[in-house]
């Protein structure tokens, strides 16, 4: 199949960027989107040009390294998949495919399609630690845990931290990411002791990192490759309010 790729090229954060169009005449519907870009990059490199820079690592939809907004949708047209798991069969022969980086002030652009998502790391750091004994696995059933909560915690923990929620949100809010990270620990007994400082710290870190607030549009859950629902944002708000109302966490004023 033949496609036209209209891709954002930008040398670095300081140089202004622009869209460049490339024809890819020899794409196969069985190729992944990135394999198609690999083929294109090989050709570009042979022509002595800089290849298109994009993030990818596992290429099996589990690491969260890949990004890109394809034809206006974070992670492309298919629901609940990452860009690396998007295949050329999702596009039509002769289609113009517009590829852009994730756009958010909190995700500064590094090069072409690569953005700096270390703001997420700072939020994770603000979440602090959990107190578990490492080494040997605890005896089964020594820590009672309702099935419902373990299921929910698993759903939240499936967040791969890719940042698509931020890219799709009109406010560049990181609420879905933060909510998933807060909930997956707050729902489990292992995360309970640090529940309050965790949610207060992460919510504050989210603001400091320069993300917007939530207007409950639902764009984030629509593009989330793991299908994490926005009800987790409500859980985060609940935990935040509960922690803030106590005014004192671990003896210190909040």
């Amino acid at each position: 199949m033949k496609v036209t790729v209209r891709v954002w090229r930008q040398k670095n954060a300081k140089t202004p960027g622009r869209f460049v169009e490339y024809e890819v005449a020899d794409a196969s519907p069985d190729m992944s989107f990135f394999e198609m870009l690999d083929v294109l990059n090989e050709r570009i490199t042979k022509q002595g040009e800089e290849p298109i820079a994009f993030d990818s690592d596992c290429r099996e939809g589990i690491c969260g390294a890949c990004s890109c907004v394809i034809n206006g949708e974070a992670h492309g047209p298919e629901k609940k998949v990452t860009t690396c798991q998007t295949y050329m069969r999702s596009f039509q022969d002769g289609q113009v495919i517009i590829v852009e980086p994730f756009r958010a002030k909190a995700f500064p652009l590094i090069k072409d399609l690569v953005v700096d998502r270390s703001a997420f790391d700072r939020i994770i750091q603000a979440g602090g630690f959990i107190s578990v004994n490492t080494g040997s696995a605890p005896e089964a059933n020594t820590v009672p845990l309702p099935k419902y909560h373990s299921d929910l915690a698993m759903d939240a923990a499936s967040c791969i931290g890719c940042g698509a929620c931020v890219a799709a949100c009109k406010n560049t809010s990181a609420s879905l990411f933060v909510a998933a990270k807060v909930s997956h620990l707050n729902l489990l007994p292992q995360g309970k002791p640090e529940k309050d400082p965790r949610v207060l710290g992460m919510v504050q870190a989210m603001d400091e990192a320069g993300f917007g607030s939530c207007t409950v549009t639902g764009s984030c859950e629509a593009v989330c490759p793991k299908g994490i629902p926005i009800s987790f944002i409500s859980r985060m708000n609940y935990d935040f309010i509960a922690a803030a109302l106590k005014l004192r966490v671990h003896g210190r004023r909040v």
């Binding site: 852009e100 958010a104 799709a168 809010s173 764009s219 629509a222 009800s231 409500s234 708000n237 004023r253």
Partner: protein, 225 residues
């Protein structure tokens, strides 16, 4: 975070402010709608109701001051959040598919602004009578302010009716997302109730829209006795 002020300074805290003020306004609006519907009970009912409100000056003014303060707080949070959020994407997208986001959720600030404009007009129209000074002189046989005649005269003009329908339409749109957002912001939209809350928000918004719009429409079309 070392003070309650800081808590309300976070994005989540500001959204709580938005939600609490929003739901107060919502409760007022429900009461207002029920009051309005008394127009269908005839001239005595609505004039009596108006007389009751106006004679309790203390209650009336306390309510007015509370409402103004709450509305201004809501608008203050709305403007600060909207401006902050808009500044957070410096370079926009070439193409943007609005996946998952309803029209109402994307236009909260626009619908809110239309509501604000409508409130100003509505106050000048029926409360102060600035647009139609003769309205304030209407009296019924008991010597009460003849609200019935005022709304009947007011809504005989098609443009006025259109303005009211647009105003309350914006309110319905705002609340169809606002009511679910309110539950979400205060942390009550748990997964078990999420879809039910979303549906209830739309139903309540439609009921409010119909309850408000029916008065000007019925009076214009001559349906009220």
């Amino acid at each position: 975070m070392n003070s309650i002020r800081k808590v309300f300074g976070t994005a989540v805290g500001k959204k709580c402010g938005m939600a609490l003020t929003g739901v107060f306004l919502f409760l007022f609006v429900v009461g207002h709608m029920v009051g309005n519907l008394q127009v269908f009970l005839g001239q005595y009912a609505i004039n009596h109701y108006a007389q009751l409100l106006q004679s309790n000056t203390g209650v009336l003014w306390s309510l007015r001051i509370c409402l103004a303060a709450v509305a201004l707080t809501h608008i203050y949070f709305a403007i600060t959040l909207t401006l902050e959020n808009r500044a957070k994407r410096e370079v926009g997208y070439e193409v943007k598919e609005l996946v998952g986001a309803s029209l109402a959720s994307r236009t909260m600030f626009i619908s809110g602004s239309v509501i604000f404009g409508f409130i100003v007009y509505h106050l000048l129209h029926f409360t102060t009578g600035t647009t139609n000074p003769e309205f304030m002189t209407f009296k019924d046989e008991r010597g009460w302010h003849d609200v019935y005649r005022m709304v009947q005269t007011g809504f005989s003009n098609g443009w006025v009716v259109a303005a009211y329908v647009v105003g309350v339409g914006a309110l319905g749109l705002h609340l169809s997302n606002g009511l679910r957002a309110f539950c979400q912001s205060l942390g009550w939209r748990f997964e078990t109730y999420a879809s039910r809350i979303d549906r209830a928000a739309v139903i309540v918004a439609v009921v409010l829209f119909v309850g408000f719009a029916i008065v000007p429409l019925a009076l214009f079309l001559g349906g009220a006795k």
